[in-house]
Symmetry: C2
Subunit: 373 residues, 2 copies
């Protein structure tokens, strides 16, 4: 199935990406530094709520993270918007997925019909859900509840040629940024990331291996349900692609466009958009983690805006989170994607912030504080 | 502070407990076996929902657990009732807690006033919250929202004499059973366990050490905020108490009444009540774990009704859960009690059941299934 012809580089071995892709260099200037000015007030309140010091564990870190990013010691109640970006992958022609590409389109219809996991979680946990077609290889015209931003019908097969042309990748990133801006204007105070794309664990593993300079075998799993043989084949495909691109590609953007996906590029734009619009971002699993890795590699100042919802079964997820210094909230053995992990962590973030905002202090409740232990 | 006099046994080195304590032997007969008859139908549905096989990880186990216990492949939506049992501990006279006993009463008022963690979590996650005084050492008369079942004003100092007389312990257990029955009659489909009692990690560590026949130093932590010196003192107090009772006590009930607490005995009754009334029970942290250990030691058939919400920072919690073969859902470094861990896991249980009940199947959503990987 694979060709021995060296694939062309999308832009050659190029200089710093920021000279090449003005939208991202512009975004980079818009990510302003975090203001830690409220940290003492936030910590003071955390330490004076009616509970033993530090007894809410990780939730206290989450409350501090959220309040600091909202620049307030009395931050707004969390109001989440989850955006699921969907796209197909040319690399599926190499037999790297347990499901056919047609499932991407079918699942988009399932999201809109309310039957998918993320649809159910949106209903029971009360966050807004938006589904965006950035590159599904199928007809989704005329669906009013779908956000139509199709760049092309799936990426190219990246073992033969770059997955996207730079202009296509930029369009996908801009769609992501647009969704973050839209969420901000609708009053979202928290962004949840989601994705659907048959074949996208292959793209994410290739992208993570390239950006982390790590062997693909450590970053590649069974995706939605490959056998062990299937996984070995997937690793060989990624290895071959990376070997071909490595002499040609230099910048993270080159890699994102050459071996990534349209939904991964859109997520990269969406995550950067969170930092630009100053809205904290909850990551989902491995795919959104790879997109976050691309975002943070491009613009390191994006990092503080991120929270890792869970640790998935995909082995690459751990590496990507460790590299970014992110420690997940949940360890449930999930490997579904769609934003389901972010959605399951959402009530924990809500709880962290509502506990912080609404618990009484020792003084208010007239409760005695700890004596010398 | 401690006496060298050997404490009396509450009932002497006695035969099988069931001959001694008719209410519990009666309850034991009421715990009917689990019916696994719906398991194949539940597993079939789990495997045909629109997601890769097993991709919801632990949540699939939780859905199976809940549906099996409700004896249905379409179980009722979770409707939780959290009961917080509060009581004081005579052992606090030995200086084993960072907080004074008066905080137990103050915190009960805080629960009722809505300012405590469990109050906030009840509001945001929508479960019913009941607060029961089974032994607070202070005046709580006339509060209409409090359930008044005070057995006595705190336990006795168990380093000097048994914490409870058998009749007192039984009354506390019956109060717990009564709350389970009441929750069942109000339509609860899930019980959440909670507790408040300054000094109760000392009682729980002593009880767990006795029932597990494990050295107290492995089961004793800093509670609500002891120093390391404070913890070493706490271990010495427990060691001394256990050494004195060990030659005299035989049955788990003896231990529960001699070194436990009124809220721990009530929780034991409440947990048994879940199994008797066939309502699954979500445990909180170390204290409710020790109560569950007592319940399971008395009536092993209670075990399948239990779910561990989280792994607390108290070292005894891990031992107790491992002994019962329970694997917690959350690892957040909590050590607050009150039912806060159970409350934080509640949205995960709700999500597991609602996903199971309301996701579309592949057939319903016309989504293709996995091919050979």
């Amino acid at each position: 199935m694979t060709t021995k012809k060296t694939p062309p580089s999308p832009e050659g071995a190029s200089g710093p990406f920021s000279e090449l892709h003005p939208p991202v260099s512009h975004w980079a200037r818009e990510v302003r530094p975090i203001d830690p000015g409220f940290d003492p007030a936030i910590r003071y309140r955390l330490d004076h709520l009616t509970k033993p010091l530090g007894s809410l564990g990780r939730l206290e870190e989450v409350a501090l993270w959220y309040a600091r990013l909202h620049g307030s010691d009395r931050p707004p109640a969390p109001k989440g918007t989850c955006v699921v970006f969907a796209a197909d992958h040319g690399i599926t022609a190499e037999g790297v997925s347990a499901y056919p590409s047609s499932v991407t389109r079918q699942m988009v219809l399932n999201y809109l019909g309310g039957g998918a996991a993320i649809s159910v979680l949106s209903r029971i946990h009360g966050f807004t859900l938006k589904i965006v077609d950035v590159g599904v290889d199928g007809d989704l015209d005329g669906l009013p509840d779908l956000v139509h931003r199709k760049v092309r019908r799936g990426t190219r097969n990246f073992i033969k040629e770059p997955a996207m042309m730079p202009a296509e990748g930029i369009r996908a990133m801009e769609a992501g940024m647009e969704m973050a801006v839209q969420a901000a204007e609708s009053g979202a105070t928290l962004l949840l990331t989601g994705e659907m794309g048959i074949g996208n664990t292959t793209a994410a593993s290739a992208l993570a291996a390239a950006l982390l300079r790590h062997p693909p075998e450590d970053l590649t799993g069974t995706g939605a349900g490959l056998t062990q043989d299937g996984k070995l084949h997937k690793i060989r495909v990624i290895d071959e692609a990376l070997a071909r691109y490595r002499p040609l590609l230099a910048s993270p953007m080159d890699w994102l466009f050459s071996v990534g996906g349209l939904e991964i590029a859109a997520l990269t734009g969406f995550i950067i958009g969170g930092a630009v619009r100053r809205i904290p971002v909850v990551l989902d699993g491995f795919i959104t983690g790879a997109a976050a890795l691309a975002a943070v590699t491009l613009i390191p100042e994006v990092r503080p805006w991120l929270l890792a919802s869970h640790m998935s079964q995909e082995p690459g997820h751990r590496r990507v989170l460790e590299h970014m210094g992110l420690s997940p909230l949940l360890f449930l053995g999930l490997r579904l994607g769609e934003g389901s992990g972010a959605a399951l962590a959402y009530p924990l973030v809500v709880a962290a912030v509502e506990l912080y905002n609404h618990m009484a202090t020792f003084e208010e409740a007239q409760v005695s504080q700890a004596g010398p232990g």
